[in-house]
Every structure is written in structure tokens, then in C-alpha cells.
Amino acid sequence: MLKKRLITCLFLMNGMLVRSEKFNYHNALGNPIHQLERYNDWRVDELIYIDISRQDTYDLGRYDTKVKIKDNILDIISEVSKKCFIPLTFGGRIRTIQDIRERLKRGADKITINTIAIENPDFITEAAGIFGSQCIVVSIDVKINDKGEYEVYKEFGQIPTGMSSVEWAKKVELLGAGEIFLNSIDRDGTGEGYDLDLIKMVSESVNIPVIACGGVGKFEDFVDGIKIGKASAVAAGNIFNFTEISAINAKKLMKENGIEVRI
């Protein structure tokens, strides 16, 4: 039986791991290379890295004295893929087929695209045609708008698109996306739990796997994401950054609740 996946999501800003809240507040957490070895022991099923740097030149004005900070996303991919033998997805700032090719060459297994997919939906089809659907994860960032509807946002959740989440999810499936990485902007970093209505609505509208993200504050949220939200995979960032052996304990709880996971 296919296991439900537990995914760690890591946000990178200018080469540093950061914490995100509602897509616009960030604390630096440290060097992304430091904790790599831990993921092998933790039995995390996949890693998703999102580069949320806004500018091209990376300079935070602070450097770790012991280990050189990898300030280039491609170097980070190389380092991660030498140490973590699980599926690796990289996203953020991808605009061209060449961007995808470079990331795959360095050791990424999948890439996730967001803004470019909205601005040029044919890009999904083109990329899936070259690299296979399994490689193209479309990330969908959703926020409840003034009318109380679930609306898709682009540019790291800054700009509304006028599209509903379900409408866009169905379209990306049709265009050749292999998976959907669904983020709730409202819940991001809040620890209030997943937006289960959103996850359920999107999961039930498509046949490709949906990865739920945004809002996990306790391990029970993972259980709800699968059982109530009907997600194929559950992802979170902060809970893994701040809690030791969190993946192991989260999976234990999922298993106790009758969810098939890889222990």
C-alpha cells in the first residue's frame, strides 16, 4: 500500500534558512547545510526547498564563521543531493526551461513553479513534455480575499490573480502538472492548523496528488490534513525546525490514527 508522505518544507532567503509567516515575515534560522544529515535519520519522506530571495545578489552581511554559507541555490542543491537520499524538490525564482535543467543537473528530482505557471500556463505543458509530469509540481498559493473566496496569488503571495483555487488546480492538472503543492497564505507560519476546507476542495477536484502546506502547529494537524483534507502528502516547515525528532513523533501519531506511513 502506498504510504502517505510527510514532507519537510524549507525556505531559503539569500542562502539562509528562514522562517516564514503569512508569506512576509522572516527570521533567519541558520545555514541550510548544517542539519542535512539529520533528515536521513528522521525518516522524512521528501524535502521541498523554496528559494524566496527577492533579489539576485545574496548578501545578508552576516556569515557563519565555521562553515561557508552557500549563497547560490545551485550550490545548495549540490550539497543537499550528496547527503539526502530522498526525493528533493526545489522551487522559487524559476522562469525558464534552462532554470529547471540546471536544478535537475545539480541533483533536484522535481521542481516547483508558481508565478511563471500563472503568467504563462503553456510553460507547464512545455516543461512536463521535456522532463515528464512527475517532475513538475505546481505550487498554488491561496488566500481568502475580501469577498471571502479562495483566490490564487502570485509573486510569493503578493499579487492576486483573480482565479479561484479549484479552477486553477483543475487547469494545471490538464496542462500536465504531476502534483500540486497547495499553500494557505493565511495560515502560513501561524500554527493554527491547515485550512482543511481548502485542502479538501482542491484534493477532490483533481486526480493528481495534492501536498498540503501552511499552518501546522501540532502533530494532529498532519492527521487532519490526510483524513479530513484528503491530501496525498502533508508538509510543514516550522514544526520541523523547532522541534527535535518531530518527524518520528508525527509519523507515530499518524500511524496510531490508522494512516499508512513509512516508519
Binding site: M1, L2, K3, K4, R5, N40, R43, D45, S81, K82, K83, F85, I86, P87, L104, K105, R106, G107, A108, D109, F131, G132, S133, Q134, C135, G178, E179, N207, I208, P209, S232, A233, R262
Partner: protein
């Protein structure tokens, strides 16, 4: 003399991951699309993610089909096909039309035929593999292990070469062995400890 392990580079998928995994368990592999490297290889690994037709086209364009057939079928060199690499070892593929494969094994590659509509395609994620027969690849592993899969097409062999299976609305082929020819539908290079052990077992076979 160190063993020469060649990962065949035919522009299909993530070759670096396979090289990194081998490196981690202590073996240096060469990523190459040169006929001479394949000729002098002790072990040949054909990885790959993507479509059957594209994969075959690339092997043909690079002029690698004959040398692979010669080294694997005549010289009997240990061959490991991973995911698409295993599928290409079949006679025929039905992804984007009918395509002739390498023909190392009798059988076809076809899309999943699953009645249960709750099961999503592609089959993505970690699934249990049941080891059905003795095979050197299972050395030091349990009777079943969990591996990472990502595919929409499956191998349907027409000879008795299936040594491991997985369940996804039916029983499908996870691992094959026919003499020196090995193949896995899953990605050992992405399956942590159990996957690394499979690669180690192949190189030490």
C-alpha cells in the same frame, strides 16, 4: 583494480543522484555517453525518468543501442535498469505510441490499468515491495522494504523474471532479474538505507 561503474548518460532524468548515492556507499561511478566507456565498464547502470519513446530516441541518437546489447546480452555484464531504465530493457513500450525497446527481456511497458478511482496516477511516493524470490539484490534486507516510486507506466514481463512486486490496486512489477540483468521500478537512489543497500548489493554481485 577498482570496478568501473558506468552510469549511462542519455539526457533522461537525474543521473547525479545515482552517482551521489554510489559515492556515499564508497563507489566512484562515471557518468558517460561514450561507447568506449560502456565497452570497458564492469557494471552498467541505466537510470532514467521520463517517457519511453524519448528515452529510446536518445539512446538511438547517441548510438548506444548496439553497444548496450553487445555488453549486456553477449558479454553478460551486470546491468541495472532504474525506473525508465528498467522499462527500456523490455521489447516494447506503449508510452506516446508504440516504440521498440532494447529487448533484453520479453514484455511490454503499458500504462497502469487500475479500476479503483481513488488511486491517483502517477503512482508517487513510498510503497512496500515484497520480495518473492531469492535475488542477490535483497541481501541484508527484510522480506519486504519500502521504496520510493514515481511512474505512470509499468512493466508487464512475458517471462518468469519477477522477483519483487508492489501493490497499487493490483500487483505490479517492482524488481526483475534475468541472469545478469537487474531492474527496479522504484528509485533505490532515493530510498534511503534500503535503496542504498540495493545499489551496494548490485555492485558487489
Amino acid at each position: 583494480m577498482p570496478k568501473k561503474i558506468v552510469i549511462v548518460d542519455y539526457n533522461m532524468g537525474n543521473l547525479a543522484s545515482v552517482a551521489n548515492a554510489l559515492d556515499y556507499i564508497g563507489y566512484k561511478a562515471i557518468i558517460s555517453n561514450k561507447v568506449d566507456d560502456i565497452k570497458s565498464a564492469d557494471y552498467i547502470i541505466l537510470p532514467g525518468v521520463g517517457a519511453f519513446a524519448d528515452g529510446m530516441k536518445n539512446l538511438i541518437d547517441l548510438g548506444l543501442v548496439d553497444v548496450l546489447k553487445e555488453q549486456v546480452l553477449e558479454r553478460k555484464k551486470p546491468f541495472l535498469g532504474l525506473c525508465l531504465g528498467m522499462q527500456l530493457a523490455a521489447e516494447k513500450g506503449y508510452e506516446n505510441g508504440l516504440t521498440q525497446g532494447l529487448g533484453f527481456i520479453k514484455g511490454k511497458v503499458k500504462k497502469f490499468d487500475i479500476k479503483n478511482k481513488d488511486l491517483r496516477i502517477p503512482h508517487i511516493g513510498w510503497n512496500e515491495v515484497y520480495f518473492k524470490k531469492n535475488c542477490i539484490l535483497f541481501d541484508k534486507l527484510n522480506k519486504s522494504e519500502v521504496f520510493y516510486f514515481v511512474h505512470s507506466y509499468c512493466l508487464f514481463p512475458e517471462e518468469d523474471i519477477v522477483v519483487g512486486t508492489f501493490d497499487y490496486g493490483g500487483e505490479f512489477v517492482a524488481i526483475i532479474q534475468k541472469d545478469n540483468i537487474f531492474g527496479t521500478q522504484f528509485h533505490p537512489e532515493k530510498s534511503q538505507k534500503a535503496g542504498l543497500q540495493i545499489l551496494k548489493n548490485f555492485i558487489e554481485s
